[in-house]
Structure formats: C-alpha cells, structure tokens
C-alpha cells in the first residue's frame, strides 16, 4: 500500500472509530445498566437495539407521525423518541418476565439464577426476532437522510491525505454524547440515580434502607433498554437493517461491557469506543465479511485474558 493511502486510511479509521465508537459506547451503556447493575445476562439486548431502529423508522418515514420534521432533523429526533417507547417496553418485559428470574428472588440461589435469566432472555430474543419478521417483514429497510451520503472534507492534510466525516455519523455522534451526558447527570446527581446505584451495589442492604429494589431494577432495565434503543435509532441513519440485525451487535455490546469492567456503567462506554476502533482498524486489513468474525475473536480474547475488564476486579469467597 502506498504510504499516502495508508496515512489517509489510518486517519479515516481513527475518525470513523471515534464517531462509530461513541455510538457503540452509548449502546454498551444500555447493556452496562442491565448487565452491570443487575448482573442479568440479557440476550435480548440486540433485539432492543432492533426495536429502537424500527421505532425510529416507523416514526419518521414518509407519511408517518414525525415525517413533518423532514429528512435532516427527523431521523435524529426519531432516535431520541425511541427511548421512551422502548423504555416502556423494557420495563414491561422486566415486570412480567425478567423480574421473575432475577433480583431479590434469586439472591443466594443456585448459580444466582443465571440459568433462568439466560433462558428467559433467550426466549424474549427469539420472540422479538421472529415476531419482528412477522410484523416488520424480512426486507432490510433504512431511515433515509440525505446526510448519510454527505461528508465534511478535511484536508488535504499530511502527505495530501484527506479525511472524510460522514455527516449522519457526525450528528449521531453528537446525539450519542449528549444522551450519555444526560444519563450521567441523572445517575450521579438525582435521587433516582442514587437509588439505582444502591440497589446495584447491595440489593439486600438497599431494601433495608427503604429503597424499592424491584422498582429500581425495573427502571434500570427500562433505562438500559431505552438507551440502547437511542443508539439503534442513530445507527439506523447509516445502516440498513432487518429483524435479525440485533445479533450482529449483541456480541459487540458484551465485548464493550466486559472490556469496560462489569458494574462500571461508563466503563462500558469506553469499552464500546474501543470496540469501535478495533472494528474500523480491522477494516484496513481484513475483508468485509471477516470484520464481524474479528470482533468475536476480540471478544473471546477479552473474556479469556481479562474477564474482570480494564478497571474491574473479581473475587470469590470460599
């Protein structure tokens, strides 16, 4: 490869890594809330992402309720609107299904109820994927915005390299950062946030302190669903998707969360950014079909070499 082209490719991989990485980061925060706070292995997280995409799609497509916002603002506002919708969906799923195999019920039980959680969320995932096929059809769709085919051009820089910043990804990047900041403020400075963190840290003790742990978990599950759905809505502006899209991303989410360290919600964000970088850089050397395989390999290496994440730590008491 020519040095000029190499420099250009690397620079573009870095910028794409940052923008896509932050969107992945947001997606990972959603799972981080669920996996990190409640230790629930949620297989259906990819399907919540898919629901976010379709919610946005059905809100802003031609002739729909938010179509008047136009192709520039619409898709991003649609992505934000996916949050409350999927929040409600997540809270309902938790109330009727997930809570019955998790939380206080399973503290101290055989394997802490992981078996049941894995199975129930796998069931939800199967229903949402296949039910999605029935409701949405299997033809891939996309949220159309002219921004996804426009780019800011920076350069020529060093050795004539030019960096292209896709406008859709750039706006999505800003919305992702904004959402993450809002969530941070909520968790850090509000009463609700404190209750959530207390319930995460020690559910039994939190109960004694008068915190309604079931409710806290329900909200956390809903928040985790809603946040991932926003990320889905944002991604819908630059990829096409079908009901089975969630599967490609569930491993990315787990990679990010595990990399960031279990229980660290914003560690999950940095984990997601890292995975975004890995993906963009692997595109430099690998054929496109193998990019997803590369992420799986990275995921396996992370869990094998450093299952406690970059910041977390683990201990078992005999």
């Amino acid at each position: 490869m020519d040095p000029e082209i190499l420099v250009e490719n690397v620079l573009n991989a870095i910028t794409a890594g940052i923008t896509i990485g932050c969107i992945y980061g947001l997606m990972c925060i959603g799972l981080g809330l669920i996996f990190g706070i409640m230790r629930i292995v949620n297989f259906a997280q990819g399907e919540l992402l898919m629901l976010g995409m379709f919610t946005s799609f059905y809100l802003v497509s031609e002739g729909r309720i938010l179509a008047f916002l136009g192709p520039y603002w619409g898709p991003f506002i649609g992505a934000m609107c996916a949050a409350p919708a999927v929040f409600a969906g997540g809270a309902i799923l938790h109330r009727f299904l997930v809570s019955r195999v998790s939380g206080l019920r399973t503290v101290g039980s055989l394997d802490e109820g992981h078996f049941g959680q894995l199975v129930v969320t796998l069931g939800i995932s199967l229903i949402l994927q296949n039910g999605g096929q029935i409701v949405f059809g299997s033809t891939p769709v996309a949220v159309r915005t002219p921004l996804s085919s426009q780019a800011f051009q920076i350069g020529p820089l060093y050795q004539g390299a030019t960096v292209f910043l896709n406008k859709a990804k750039l706006v999505a990047f800003f919305v992702a950062i904004l959402t993450a900041v809002i969530l941070y403020v909520v968790l850090e400075y509000t009463r609700l946030g404190k209750a959530l963190r207390a319930a995460a840290d020690n559910p039994t003790a939190a109960t004694y302190m008068g915190i309604d742990v079931d409710r806290a978990y329900r909200i956390a599950f809903g928040l985790g669903s809603g946040i991932t759905a926003v990320a889905g809505g944002l991604m819908a502006t630059y990829i096409s998707f079908g009901p089975f899209v969630g599967f490609d991303y569930v491993i990315i989410m787990y990679s990010g969360v595990v990399l960031g360290g279990m229980g660290s919600i914003f560690g999950a964000f940095w984990g997601g950014v890292t995975v975004g970088f890995v993906q963009q850089f692997s595109a430099l050397v690998l054929p496109p079909q193998l990019q997803n395989a590369a992420i799986f390999v990275v995921f396996l290496m992370i869990v094998l070499l450093r299952p406690q994440g970059l910041f977390g730590r683990s201990a078992e008491r005999a």
Partner: protein
C-alpha cells in the same frame, strides 16, 4: 456403575426399546413426505438435545453455541462428499472426530471461564465460524447424487429409512447418556454443576471432567449435524451454525427436562412437530412462527416448571406415591461394610506413625495479600499426627484465607506449606485433596439435589476409589458421623447440623490424613454443638489429625490440644489452650484494651 444402577439402567433401556418400537411402527404408516421428514427430525433434534444435555444439563456449563459442533459435522460430511466423493458412512465419523477436536480447542481456553462468561463465549464460536464460512464462499453447498451407489451414499428412495437411522442414532445417544448418568462421570458432572468449589475440594478435577463432557457432547453434536446434512441434502452457514440451531438444543432439553436423559426426547417429541406444523400451515403468512413458538415455550417452562416437564411430572407422581416411595427408599440403603458399630472401624489403615518423626503439616512464613491488605502475614505453625489444632481469632483475622491458601483455592505470595514433607502450595485444589487433605467450608457447600450418600460418594470418587470401594467407604463415613440413617434423603432437606456432618463425612470419605474444618460449629445451638464435638472427639480417638477454625473460644477449649491465635493475618500466640486464653495479647485482640486494663486493675 453406581450403587443401584443396574436395575435402574435396565428399566430405562426397557422403556427406550418400547418407545422406539412404537415410534418406528407409527412411522411405517406415514405416507405424506412432509410428515415423514418431521418423523425424522424429531429424533434428530432429540439427539442434539441429548448432546447438549451432557455438557449443559448434567455439567451445568451452559452453552448457547452448540451449533459449532452441529455445523462442523454438517459441513464435514457435505464438503467431504463434494470434494472427495467420500460416503457419509465415513464422513459422519470424520465429522465426529473433528467435532471432538473442536471441543478440545474450544474447551481449553473457554473452561477458564465460569457462569455467564462461559455461556457468552460459547455463543461467539459458531457465529465466528459462520462468518468464516461465508467468507470462504460456502454459502450454499448441495450434496451431489450418486445414483449407482445409492446405499453406499445413504441415498434411500424411501424417506422412512432415514427415520429408522435417526431412531437408531438416538438410541445410541440415549445409551451413552444413560451410562454417563449412572457412572462416576455423571456424579462428577452433577457435583460440579451444583458446587464447583466443593467438588474440587472433594478431589474432583473439574476441568478434566468438564472437558470430557464437552468432547462427548461435541462428538454427538457433530454426529447429528452430519446426519442432518445428509437428510436435507443442502447446507448453508445459517442453517447449521445459526442461532436457531443452538436454540433448538437448549429449547427441547429445557422444555422436556434438564439433566434427565428423557428430557430432550420428550421436548423434541412435542415441540418439533408443533413448530414444523405451524411453520408449514402458517409460515407464508407468519414467517418465523417457529422461533416465536420456541421462545414462548422456553419462557413458559422457565416460569412454570423451571426444570422441565419430565421433572415436574415425576415430582407430581412421586408425591402421590410418597408413603410407598419412602419405605422403598429406606430399604435400599446399601449395607456395605455394615456392622452395628460401623463408625468405630478404623477408617483406612492409618499411615504408620512411627515411620516419620516430623510434624504432619508444616506451615512456614506463609503470606497472602489482597491489594494492600495482608490477609495472611508470615504465618508459621505445625501440626503433629493425631493432634487437634484450633485456629482462633476475631472476624477478619485471615483464618479462612489461610485455609484457602493451604488447599489451593488461593495462591500464596510467599512462604511454604508441607504435608508430611511434600510441598502443598502451587497445587490445584483437587490435587491437594488427593494428597490427603480434606476440607469443609464456613458456609456449607453441599450438592443439594443429590442424596446424602451421593454427596459423600463424591468425596470417595475424588480420592480415586473404585465404585465398590467408594460406596463402601461413603457408607462407612456416614456411620462415622452418625448420619447413616439419612443416606437417601436429598441433601437440601437436611438441617444445618446434619449438613455440617455430611460435609465432614464427604471430607472423610476421601481417607484424608488431615482435616481442615472451617467453622464447623458456626450457627449451631448448644446441644447440636455438643453432638458435633462428640463426633470430632471420636475421630480424634481413631487417630485423625484435625485443624479447625473457630472464633468461639468456649467450644474449642474442650476440643483442641493446642491453639494458634491469628489477628490481622499474624500469629499472635501459639500454645496450650489454657496458656493462650490467659495471654494478654490475645485478650486484647478479642476484648480490647479497656478490658485488659480493667483486669489488671
């Protein structure tokens, strides 16, 4: 074979023969080719469930990536036929070989993980392979036809022949599963599933057994996959490595009954025809209805009968027959080594004491830190043969950490520990156990679903005994602690005291030379405490060497020959009980400076 396994096995095989015959007879009368296919798919998915059950049901190592093995089998058979013209009769065994190999490659790194990390990683393997297959251009591979050698290539004009083969394969799989269930293999897996650390401490090499179960499971999975490819004549990465394939195994087994050989069979017999029929009738209006049905099925089962149909139905029936059942069970207690005074038999010939002059256990300047906290700091002490040493100290003094380091649960930072001159540190937990160190835990680690006798047999198997010896030794150990009357009760039904005694018996069953007892008296009432102390005193009378952790001085004064007092990870005092409790430093550690001042005043 385990105790009582013979008749048990014969009954299962009888059921298997009858069910298979009925099924094959029914298959004879099916004329519609679509229903003939379903008749073949039922045993196929049942066998795949059996394969998954061996790893994830008995062993509890939840795998959502069993499609790896299925797909490897399917692609091996198909590609070998396309490129080399290899008959499936050889292709399927080749696929099984590769499946076993893949199991080793996958197991070596992945068994370092536990719980949900293991499940997640297993999920990643088939998906990674799926993308690689797409990249290699094997999107859709069809099997060539060999009309002149139809039989050799398993090309049958009558689809019912495939049903026959599928049933025969399933019979094979069920027999393998039954043999595992009724041998030490199955008991080791069940023990690992219920409490891996306890299994290790009882001398079971968990990694090895898990690996064996994965290999058996992987080979069976590849077998099913290869046959499936032969039946459908075409493979795509999604149809053999996809998530729905892994889900099939999970779903049929969970629905039917996890960790029971009949679970996958029952699950497949109900769900496969249901899903396939729905797909055929409604598929064009409601694509994906199959997945929805599976999803609903497993959620419903998880919420309503978490262990699956088989167990729920069986529990119902057993409850109805309860009075009859109990009397039968009590009668079945094996009387191996039985004499009325069973416990007073010397457990195992104790090693000749005279042979050795040094102490049995020698701990020298042992240290272990967690971050900045020195939990155990330069601890040294010795235990002589036949002695009872009490390790006492306030909460957080490092007592349990000391045990964890000694039996290999944790590694030491510095120092050494020798059992009869042999170094103990750096060994795995099960290896320390096999050196002759038995261990009980502060919080009892039992296998709650297994009967008391099986709980104890785990300890004897851990020491490498034959089936016969293990049963005899376990029965004897139960007598030693006075629990022989409860041998057939599930451990989950015992009282706290009985659990403590059972754990003690499990440690004894491995014929240990040294027992490490971690707060065996914790949470017991005064009388219960006395009962346990009496058992320990009897063990001492038989020459057993015991190292026991306690923080209640009172009970220990009566039992221990010598005390080692730990505080903040350091040895505060060593010596005879009387001298130690008078020691000022000890009183200060336990009761504070004020108390000391008052006493001196």
């Amino acid at each position: 074979m385990r105790q009582g396994a013979g008749p048990h096995l014969r009954r299962h095989l009888g059921v298997l023969a009858v069910v298979s015959l009925v099924y094959l007879l029914a298959a004879l009368f099916v004329k519609n080719s679509y229903y003939q296919l379903i008749m073949t798919l039922v045993p196929v998915w049942a066998l795949f469930g059996v394969s998954w059950n061996i790893l994830s049901g008995y062993g509890g190592q939840l795998s959502f990536g069993h499609a790896s093995f299925f797909g490897i089998g399917a692609y091996t058979v198909t590609l070998a036929m396309v490129y080399w013209g290899l008959t499936p009769l050889l292709g399927i065994p080749l696929g099984m070989l590769l499946g076993g190999l893949a199991a080793i490659l996958i197991g070596l790194p992945t068994f370092r993980l536990r719980g949900h990390y293991f499940a997640l990683s297993m999920l990643a393997y088939p998906l990674a392979i799926l993308y690689v297959m797409q990249y290699l251009g094997f999107q859709e591979v069809s099997m060539p036809m060999y009309r002149e050698h139809a039989l050799l290539y398993m090309e049958f004009a009558d689809p019912r022949a495939y049903t026959l083969i599928a049933v025969l394969l399933l019979i094979g799989g069920v027999v393998v599963s039954l043999v595992i269930e009724n041998s030490r293999f199955g008991l080791a897996l069940l023990a690992i599933r219920q409490n891996e650390l306890a299994a290790e401490a009882a001398g079971i090499n968990a990694r090895l057994w898990k690996m064996r179960s994965l290999i058996v499971s992987g080979m069976l999975g590849a077998l099913v996959g290869g046959f499936y490819a032969r039946v459908l004549l075409v493979v795509t990465p999604e149809s053999v490595f996809g998530m729905l394939v892994s889900a099939q195994a999970v779903v049929v087994t969970l629905f039917g009954g996890v960790a029971s050989v009949w679970g996958p069979v029952i699950g497949a017999a109900i769900l496969v025809p249901l899903a396939e029929t729905l797909q055929a009738e409604l598929g064009q209006y409601l694509p994906g209805i199959q997945g929805v049905v599976y999803g609903i099925a497993i959620i419903a089962v998880m919420l309503l009968s978490p262990d699956g149909l088989f167990w729920t139905v069986r529990d119902r029936l057993l409850r109805r027959e309860a009075p009859h059942g109990v009397s039968e069970v009590t009668g079945a207690v094996p009387d191996a080594g039985a004499r009325s005074d069973g416990w007073s038999l010397a457990p195992a010939p104790l090693p000749a004491t005279a042979r050795r002059s040094g102490p049995l256990l020698q701990v020298d300047r042992l240290s272990r830190s967690f971050g900045g906290l020195r939990a155990v700091s330069e601890v040294s002490f010795e235990i002589a043969e036949g002695e009872i040493l009490g390790i006492i100290g306030p909460n957080g003094a490092g007592k349990t950490t000391l045990f964890n380091v000694l039996n290999g649960v944790l590694t030491a930072d510095e120092g050494s520990a020798r059992l009869d001159g042999q170094p103990m540190l750096g060994k795995k937990t099960y290896e320390v156990c096999r050196m002759g160190v038995g261990r009980t835990f502060q919080v009892v680690r039992s296998f709650p679903r297994l009967p008391v006798l099986d709980n104890v047999i785990v300890g004897a198997y851990g020491a490498g005994m034959s089936d016969r010896d293990a049963i005899a030794r376990a029965t004897q150990a139960l007598r030693q602690v006075g629990l022989h009357g409860r041998a057939t009760v599930a451990a989950g039904q015992l009282t706290n005291k009985q659990l403590r005694l059972m754990e003690l018996a499990r440690a004894l069953a491995g014929n240990p030379r040294l027992l490490l007892l971690d707060e065996t008296l914790a949470g017991l009432g005064r009388e219960e405490c006395d009962d346990v102390l009496a058992v320990l005193a009897r063990l001492r009378a038989q020459g057993m060497t015991i190292c026991i952790i306690e923080h209640t001085m009172h009970a220990m004064m009566r039992l221990a020959d010598r005390f080692v007092v730990l505080d903040h990870g350091r040895v505060l005092a060593t010596g005879l009980p009387r001298a130690v409790v008078e020691d000022d430093a000890v009183i200060e550690a336990y009761l504070g400076k004020k108390w000391l001042a008052r006493r001196e005043a």
